[in-house]
Symmetry: C2
Subunit: 338 residues, 2 copies
């Protein structure tokens, strides 16, 4: 088969790779229904995160089970499955505590931008649907694998409750789905920080009640104005830069909640400022596996349509253009079909 490999910043190739096979009895191999490019793939693509030589790419996936190892019990060939970007055994203390993305046996999936994928710890990692979903639901099901699960964690970790005022910093696909998640959790007011019209429109469609284009200190000022000088109950940081983190922390009310769900790049938090900001802070790799059954249900019942974040759909062999379009912000998120 062919798969996606990052050779150097800006250099994505779709080239011959070994077709994956069962290596451990706990593995499954799945045939991809759809995969996509993640905002986090852009960090190494832009050279903002070092890589060690050619790196196989992709960690968002859904598809049909092709083969399973001898120890796999919960999924079987032919079933449609979605899994998290982080594998988990679902039985270790961290999994049982609700943090499968910190599983004692965790591996981060890579190589998913390909027609076939080996998934370790298949029993713990994969969730099968009762029947094969209709094709139009595939994009939305794909989002549960990471981008929706991560947006959902942003809202959950920021303690979004019915009636709350939530601010979402970042208008990438995660930020937009954080808006959708905050809406599902009952936020009454959802302020999306965005300066791009297409993204503002999608944010509104997902439930944003206000749009703020200003950033940094000016953005914080605007949030304070919109909240009667108080600050927001919940702030969902979906970028990962120093500016966005500080904007998030300064936008929250004392005692409010700030979540951060993208790997922070070059971020340093000043202890004394954090102390006097009086916020709750929680983040990390989203425990997507915990949310998967619920999110898959919401999609199958067509209560949400997170697949709308895909505004570009390409055949898998045009993956390089998929990266370019996202890098140049011509696309919010690129769906790839094998």
């Amino acid at each position: 088969m062919k798969g996606t490999v990052l050779y150097a910043p800006g250099d994505i190739r779709f080239e011959d790779r070994e077709t994956p096979t069962i290596e451990e009895p706990t593995d499954a191999v799945i045939r991809m229904a759809a995969t996509c490019v993640c905002g986090s793939d852009l960090w190494p693509y832009r050279g903002l995160q070092p890589t060690n030589g050619p790196t196989p790419m992709g960690h968002e996936y859904c598809g049909f089970v092709e083969e399973v190892g001898g120890a796999v019990r919960s999924v079987k060939p032919g079933q449609f499955v979605v899994g998290s970007f982080a594998t988990s055994d679902n039985v270790c203390p961290h999994c049982r505590y609700g943090y499968p993305s910190a599983c004692a046996q965790r591996e981060f999936i890579t190589r998913a931008q390909a027609p076939f994928l080996r998934v370790p710890l298949a029993d713990g990692t994969l969730v099968a649907t009762a029947e094969a979903p209709s094709g139009d639901l595939i994009p939305s099901l794909l989002t549960t694998s990471d981008v929706l699960g991560t947006g959902w964690f942003a809202a959950d970790a920021a303690n979004v409750k019915p009636g709350a005022t939530a601010v979402v910093v970042g208008d990438g696909a995660v930020g937009l789905l954080a808006v959708l998640s905050a809406k599902q959790m009952g936020a009454e007011r959802i302020i999306a920080m965005s300066r791009h019209e297409a993204r503002q429109n999608l944010a509104r469609e997902f439930g944003a009640t206000d749009i703020v284009a200003a950033r940094g200190d000016e953005g914080v000022e605007r949030i304070k104005e919109l909240t009667g000088g108080i600050g927001a109950d919940s702030v969902l940081e979906c970028v990962g830069t120093q500016e966005s983190m500080m904007q998030a922390i300064r936008s929250a009310r004392p005692g409010g909640f700030v979540s951060y769900v993208g790997v922070p790049h070059g971020v340093k938090l000043e202890g004394a400022e954090l102390f006097f900001a009086h916020v709750h802070l929680h983040g990390g790799p989203a425990p997507v596996r915990r949310y998967l059954p619920h999110l898959i249900d919401l999609v199958l019942q067509e209560k949400i349509n997170p697949g709308k974040v895909f505004d570009l759909s390409l055949p898998l062999d045009q993956v390089a253009e998929g990266y370019r379009a996202m890098d140049e912000r011509r696309a919010i998120k690129t769906l790839l079909r094998p």
Copy 2:
């Protein structure tokens, strides 16, 4: 009257000051029953925090109302009262949200190491007891003003629940009372980090089940060993240095809770490490006023004896020796009697 003034690092003087009077109709003036030296007073005493010229000291207090302003309704002359180190109106959005120490009208009390103290926002800040307490309860009642309230916040912000494993970093008076608080909240295992025998003994008396003398990475290793490699559910950081903060964060389990209740001095948190540590982080000036009625009750019912942290009691005019004894770690905490 005479009051306590810090002139320079190590230079505490007890000297003539104006006797405080009612300045605003919302003020009360109280006659001190007892006051004390706080661990946070040692930062400027040691020159680790800059001061601008001579600085009146003290922010922990309890005593009898001497006089109230014309607008004060909830306390009256003769009543015994305790107040928080931070004033609060108890009606602003931050107070109503549970964060009176972020009150829109907050002032930090200073000048309490004196026989009389003016307390602004008396209605919101002070809590009166039904009758004058017996003298032997005064030290414990005094602790509710800050050191116990802050230890209590450490346990609350670290989400200590029945059955939890809690680690307390720091064996100062706040850390010791954080042990007591974690015990009250039902922690099953309480690991106190301390290398001083007298403090270890008091920690055990307050409820510590384990003592760890190791610090830094070695301390983290020990916590991991004691928790089966998992890390603690709750870690209560009661020091405020870079080392203690990192020790706290690294001692928590993924998804666990870390609180920090002393002003961080020179602390910088690396975003990416915090992200992968997967912890909840919450801290700030303790919202003591929220806890005061409950803590005062616990003391009056003699369910707790937090006053044991005072292992040195001096007449107020010997306040300089009180600072010296704490600085040299000859005393855990100094009680001062006018």
